[in-house]
Symmetry: C2
Amino acid sequence: MASYQLFIEKVKEIHKIGAIQGHLGWDQETIMPPKGAQARSEILSWLAKEQHARVTAPDFGEMITQLENSNDLDENQVANVRELRRRYDKAVKLPSEFVAQYALTRSQALVAWQEARTASDFTMFQPHLEKLVEMTNQKIDYYGVETTRYDVLLDEYEFGMKVSDYDPLFAGLKSRLVPLLQNIMEAKKTNPDPKLPTEISFPVKAQTEFCKLVSNAMGFDFEAGRMDASTHPFSAGLWPGDTRFTTRFDEQDPFSCLYAVMHETGHALYEQGLDANHSFTPRGDAVSLGVHESQSRFWENQIGRTPAFWKVVLPWFKQQFPDAPEWTPDELNKIANCVEPGFIRVEADEVTYNLHIMLRYELEKKIFNEKLSVKDIPNTWNQMFSEWFGIEVPEDRMGCLQDIHWSMGAFGYFPTYTLGNLYAAQLLEAMSQEIGDVDEIIETGDWSPMLDWLRPKIHLQGSKLTPSELIEQATGVPPTPQPFIDYVESKYSKLYNLS
Amino acid sequence: MASYQLFIEKVKEIHKIGAIQGHLGWDQETIMPPKGAQARSEILSWLAKEQHARVTAPDFGEMITQLENSNDLDENQVANVRELRRRYDKAVKLPSEFVAQYALTRSQALVAWQEARTASDFTMFQPHLEKLVEMTNQKIDYYGVETTRYDVLLDEYEFGMKVSDYDPLFAGLKSRLVPLLQNIMEAKKTNPDPKLPTEISFPVKAQTEFCKLVSNAMGFDFEAGRMDASTHPFSAGLWPGDTRFTTRFDEQDPFSCLYAVMHETGHALYEQGLDANHSFTPRGDAVSLGVHESQSRFWENQIGRTPAFWKVVLPWFKQQFPDAPEWTPDELNKIANCVEPGFIRVEADEVTYNLHIMLRYELEKKIFNEKLSVKDIPNTWNQMFSEWFGIEVPEDRMGCLQDIHWSMGAFGYFPTYTLGNLYAAQLLEAMSQEIGDVDEIIETGDWSPMLDWLRPKIHLQGSKLTPSELIEQATGVPPTPQPFIDYVESKYSKLYNLS
């Protein structure tokens, strides 16, 4: 019988390589000097190859098989064996050279995307995206297609999810969100939303101070992490004691930075709350992107976009922005919840947000299931956007160049954002039944009851269960979109006085 | 016959691990959240073990032997084989477990040193230092002693250098520097040095701007590097296109930051000037610490501490520090060259600097050749300091806790600083013979002739030659202390009107 000790040593080495990749990735996104990109790409490519070699080593595969037949493992050990089995089975299908080349291509594409986005010039990114789509199609062929080609990608980011799961889910959501949006747009004609004053500037330094206070109040430990700036806000749990998130600044709009910080802090709290007894193993890792996104969206929306939140943070806001108008908490909350079809996904309100996801989902289906050509992406994007949102995309920076994901080869990732929204609403409902009305708790200014509820139910669980098992264990019911639909309809009917 | 191609692939992997260690080290010194230290130590330890396993792999050793017997290699390839032979022969003497444990110990000691230094409490660092000395003694035993124990360490940092080389070198220097210092101290009694006004503050932001202008004028490419802050200024050439240096700030004294920046930029220019065709191989690496230090000291002292330098940068200085007195270039130069026995090595003038090095050298000799106990280091340091410098160390922060080196296990490193001073003066002498009077060139504001001289003669050479071969090739004579003695006696006799 293989020794579990030997197996877990190897698992930890594999995870350490991943941690280093995460660290170099964080650096690349935040502070790397531009001319360092080429050598950095080579190093990341080499690390990917090294990691792949370890996961696919024949003796490691044998260890997994032997441990699967063992009766001596506890539930944490079983979870680690299960996750490595899943990873091994996928990894052995990819040739080592492909893995290295794919990592190199991604790392170079990321740099090209940053430049193309700044220039708003899709043609600068197009050859890289073509290469990525080509290699992703190769990857699909290596893995093997059982249902549709896109399903192979969807499964990568949320285990077990397929087009046949998402199609009805999105259709159901759309059938409720589109009428809600129409009602809101109608209501806005008579009662227009408040607007941010254009003549006031919100300095970066003050935004930083304000957001750090909020992040700290949420429970982020700045002794065990950092906040920095990057083009695309993200969060990275590098290793125990080092979780870093980023935000971006718009001096005309402090809400952009604030909600990026609350979102990323939500992710970061999950990482800081993982069980350090299981570091560098799947058991000590976040379970899935969908669950990760539930944590970010919970803090951003269910906590941050409420009148109760604004009552608490108003004094901090006033202190940092003495020139801002004399807004009340309700006015600030209204500004933070304006529903408006806009171009940018990460700045979308909760009603339109999932439409942004569906658009990307439909487009990725076209790319991988219907062979949509990369050169046709901008036009297709713009046409769909015009149809769905009723506004014309003025430039690719506001359209198909806005998201980082494709430049990282992350096709099939976007739908997990919608899962996150659904899980977050379901968690809020279950949480409220146990700890009482969350808005009332927010208003006390002590937000630890929410974090204390999430810690044992989600964070400390790591990857012990599958994502849907975890949601069911935490809430008492399997994942369902109903709580989200109830939440969003109730919240926005109230905000817009809909009948 | 082993394929050179296969050999160099392995060499590049070994160097990539080193580059990652360098990156994590940079992060640890500058921006790492404190609670990340433990896991970071584990990762660094694992990387050290991985690297060691590759260097000492039996088939790698066989490759080296086969390539040594090949006649087909060009001079660059020969240099790579030579350097890996040297490394292999040392590495195989160290057990893998020792290497990992030693890396872990160093990484933990670094954190302890930072805390001890802040608290100025040697006892906080003592157990770590005891462990480091113990493990360093183990390392000496593994390598094997041919002459004295300390020689084994000296050789680590400047190949081939021994106590029997340094003892007469330091004695010779001391016999000239001590009388010079006495004459200067005598002259200061009648003509006291100018003092920095204590009522003026030099803001960090303005210091940053000023120093970036200077670094840029020296030729540092900010598109291929960064400047940050850290407790102990350092420079790290991570990989092609990414060279980072740090400085520190004292709002009462802008010279501290300026000369740290010029020093570290000197190191960084060497790194940025290495031959990118030989990246990730010894041929593309800096050849030695002594030569590295010659680059930093050249820019810091031979360029930066001259009246010509101050003539050029005075307008930048005035623009950033409008509240500063109306100093002339000569006054600024005098302030920048005040000779004064002080406690801190990195802030020492050129006359006393090498005495600081000799003190550390003598102390390290006592530790490793005469078994001086770690607990007795503070007292011994303070007694020697009092004798040599005539002033009493008020606290360990200003004494034996000031330097980072021991916390990194770098015993035997300090003497390379003196070598750097000697090489720098020798390079200046040779350079002047070829490009003309350097002070006149500095005064034009275009400092590229000096960099253009150093690039092919030092930087692009990498490790093609040994350090002393390189100095001889660049200057026409083997390394000699005479140019330094001439330089320092002439410069300070003029500054202090000595007869």
